[in-house]
Symmetry: C2
DNA sequence: TCACACCCTGTAGTAACTTCAGGGTCAAGC
DNA sequence: GCTTGACCCTGAAGTTACTACAGGGTGTGA
């Protein structure tokens, strides 16, 4: 008999909260495990590996939908992995975009911060004045590239 | 009589969707405007300036709660603006943290991507193999500093 | 009178979880 | 036998900052 795990042990091994495991099951990322006589979930090594895979992808900030695509390839090993490359390339680009957005943002914030070095009266605060100016300081508005679509539950 | 705006015009001037204006009202970021005989909202220049302030803060990726703090200072101009500085400093640090997290992330993704340059069979794909490894590649897990608390609606 | 653009309220959906309420199960200790 | 505590269960609601939608009213030009 292969070793089985209760949800708590599985969760510890994969370093995930227990609720998240159940959540992934509801999203069908994890297959429904067997149940013991007391209705507790019974997981196997296969579940643990799949869960680790998912968490690793999440730690790389992939969306659930991206992970779904990777799992699909993973589930039929004969298929070629061009799709994997595509997912990853796209994801790398998203991250790159976000990165430059954040860099711009930080420059703006620092410029703003320099307008009030002393704790002066609010009325004279250069920061509040700067924020009130209708023109944004370094300007353009990017706001949220990389939106994703619905995550269906049962 | 000072000029008044309907919600649509206010929204155009501040470059915000109309729904967002109503949403801000529900959060009490914007005071309730007067109403015309037909029950349409009637905004003034004061509303426009406050809305622009809010949008500018949002374009700097501040949270609603952070903006609330800034508005509080803005609403009593006699108060000193040390709080403004604090909010901004903290925000700058959050952004800086997120930035280095993303940089680390991108490095990891690129390293991963190099494991499969050719469209090989999924079974041999270095990327899938890499993602299956329990040890994260560059590792540590940061995941979400900078969490914020509830935004109360009416 | 019609189309059409605008306005209203209230509710639900988005991403990826987390938290909570209200239970059942099981082993150890008294 | 009973309690305590750690574990498990389900289902629903909360988190952030909106966005979208349903189902209506208002105002203006042709």
């Amino acid at each position: 008999m292969p070793k089985t795990y209760q949800i708590g042990e599985l969760a510890r091994q994969a370093d995930v909260p227990v609720e998240t495991v159940r959540y992934y099951e509801s999203l069908k990322l994890l297959p429904k495990p067997g149940r013991a006589a007391n209705n507790y979930r019974q997981y196997t090594q296969v579940h643990l590996e799949r869960l680790s895979f998912i968490r690793h992808c999440r730690s790389l900030d992939m969306s659930i939908d991206e992970i779904r695509q990777l799992l699909r390839v993973r589930d039929r090993p004969e298929a070629d992995c061009a799709e994997v490359n595509a997912v990853l390339d796209e994801h790398i680009e998203h991250v790159g975009q976000k990165l430059s957005e954040l860099q711009r943002l930080k420059r703006q914030l620092i410029a703003l911060r320099e307008r009030c070095q002393t704790a002066s009266r609010g009325a004279d605060c250069g920061i509040l004045a700067g924020l009130a100016e209708t023109q944004a300081i370094g300007s353009e508005r990017p706001r949220d590239g990389h939106r994703k679509r619905s995550v269906h539950r049962d």
